[in-house]
Amino acid sequence: MSATTPVPAPTAAYRITPARVLRSEWHKLWTVRSTWITLVTSAAFLLGVGILMGATYTSDGGDSDVDTVVLSLYGSQLGGVCLAVLGILVTAGEYATGMIRASMTAVPRRLPVLGAKAAVFTAVVFAVSFVTALITFLTAQIFFSGTDQAASLTDDGVLAAIAGNATGVTLLGVIALGLGAALRSVPGAVGAFIGGVMVLPEILGMLPYEAVETAVRYFPTQAAGALGSADPMPGAATPGAALFALFLWAAATLAVPALLLKRRDV
């Protein structure tokens, strides 16, 4: 620049780094009530439904063929919705409140913000879901002991299924987070998640076409279900394929807002 500008020298130590953006998003996540409410509610659903399943179970009740882990963690369907809402609030919530303007002014390259949001959300939601799922499984086993659903963590596929369940709800939450970032509206993203991710595959699954039925196995909710069962279910994707499919869905749902983020006005 031609003119010399006698401005106060900025403190050289202040600068944006990816780790600092992560720290900022971590701080943001824990300083609003909605995070605590959605996490605690999802854990309560998981544990509560698990106890309900255990307490009401009888070996001759017709549920004997249900996978033990699936039965114990049945509440993850409800809990997963809470986590999806959290994912949507993390992104679309900032557009609703206007916080996004402050975030994007602080980090005007924008993409690190979305990346940090997804990373912090993934880590926190997986940790909470996995720990809650473990506790729920063990609690349910107190009731299941002596029935045909008695199982232990060391049984074949059990620990993998519990981790798979947590991975499933986490990646479904990441899809919700991506929808929130793309649609920039909390109600819009909640609607898109419930309609597009939860209900649509159920409807498609009803269609009498084999190809559609096969494809639906790899849809997010179905893939998450396959990940969460200790014994491979008939007519479901293998855990490896399910994990890969779910990962692709999450990546694709994040890629859309990532591509749009640079172009769109905040």
């Binding site: 500008t5 202040y14 720290r23 303007r101």
Partner: protein, 305 residues
């Protein structure tokens, strides 16, 4: 230093900002003035990289805002709309922004003190009054100790105490050598705070001038004089060393004097024993200058009765 070069923003076929070029220099308060809907907020959002210009570009300290490694140390901004989560406390809001740049807690506490928010820092922003919200926005703007401060309508909705506080703050920021750009739709407010003025209307540059030059162009500040000896006073007033001085009669005993201040007129009258019934400096001319300037570019114009 902010430089805008031919900034243009179109939404569909509606042009909000057109070919806007200006430079904002450090060490002074620059007022960014225009009627409602003139494109002020859009221009500021383009400077901050929030909106992409359809054409043209802008730089802060020589490069685009978004390309600075530590943007918060370059520009601190208060945007017109609230930019925060109402459920977060003032402290945590600032801390979340501070973390992105590695700004320490001590600096967050410092700006909270600077804006008088220390006592309410732990409260959720939801319960803040408009004035407290503005103060928090300004605390966020000062967080990175920025070389440039951009404030969009900072006095909107503030009580007189708050307005005075902002005026003092803006002047002290400029005195520290910072670049200060502050938008307003009120000429009277800018007249009290700004040294330099950038006036826009309908997205176009109308004037890039100083407050004193604008006053001069508008015919200067005038003094209203009421005296029973109007003709005699008129002859006595020393117009010769003041070539700009003009005296017009507004009535049989009323004069309007431009180019001479009230003190000079009063001294002359006293020296010659001319009784004065009224000696009133008129400052409305600045507002009038602004109105004249923007008259053709008002978005919503009331029909003349």
């Amino acid at each position: 230093m902010i430089r805008a070069e031919e900034l243009t923003k179109r939404y569909g076929d509606r042009t909000v900002v057109q070919d806007l070029s200006f430079t904002v220099r450090p060490g002074t308060v620059t007022g960014f003035l225009g009627p409602n809907g003139a494109g002020k907020s859009t221009t500021l959002r383009m400077l901050l990289g929030l909106d992409a210009p359809t054409r043209g570009h802008s730089t802060v300290a020589g490069r685009a805002y978004a390309t600075h490694p530590a943007p918060l140390t370059q520009v601190g901004a208060l945007l017109e709309a609230r930019s925060l989560h109402p459920g977060r406390s003032a402290f945590h809001h600032l801390m979340a922004l501070a973390h992105t740049h590695g700004i320490p807690r001590a600096r967050v506490e410092h700006v909270l003190g600077l804006t008088g928010l220390t006592d309410v820092a732990g409260r959720r922003v939801k319960g803040f009054s408009l004035g407290m919200g503005q103060r928090l926005g300004i605390a966020a703007a000062l967080l990175g100790d920025p070389a440039t401060v951009v404030l969009d309508e900072p006095v909107n909705g503030l009580d007189p105490d708050g307005v005075l506080w902002i005026r003092t703050l803006l002047k002290s920021l400029a005195a520290e050598g910072r670049t200060v750009l502050v938008s307003s739709h009120l000429m009277s407010e800018m007249a009290l705070t700004a040294d330099h003025l950038i006036v826009i209307g309908k997205g176009r540059l109308l004037a890039d001038t100083t407050v004193s030059a604008l006053v001069r162009e508008a015919g200067g500040a005038s003094v209203r004089v009421v005296t029973p000896e109007a003709d005699r006073l008129r002859a006595l007033l020393p117009t010769s060393p003041h070539p700009d001085a003009q005296i017009t009669a507004e009535g049989p005993d009323t004069l309007r004097v431009t180019g001479l201040d009230a003190a000079a007129i009063g001294h002359t009258a006293a020296a010659h024993g001319v009784p004065l019934h009224e000696l009133t400096p008129q400052t409305a001319s600045l507002e009038q200058a602004f109105m004249d300037l923007t008259h053709d570019s008002l978005e919503y114009q009331g029909a003349a009765a």
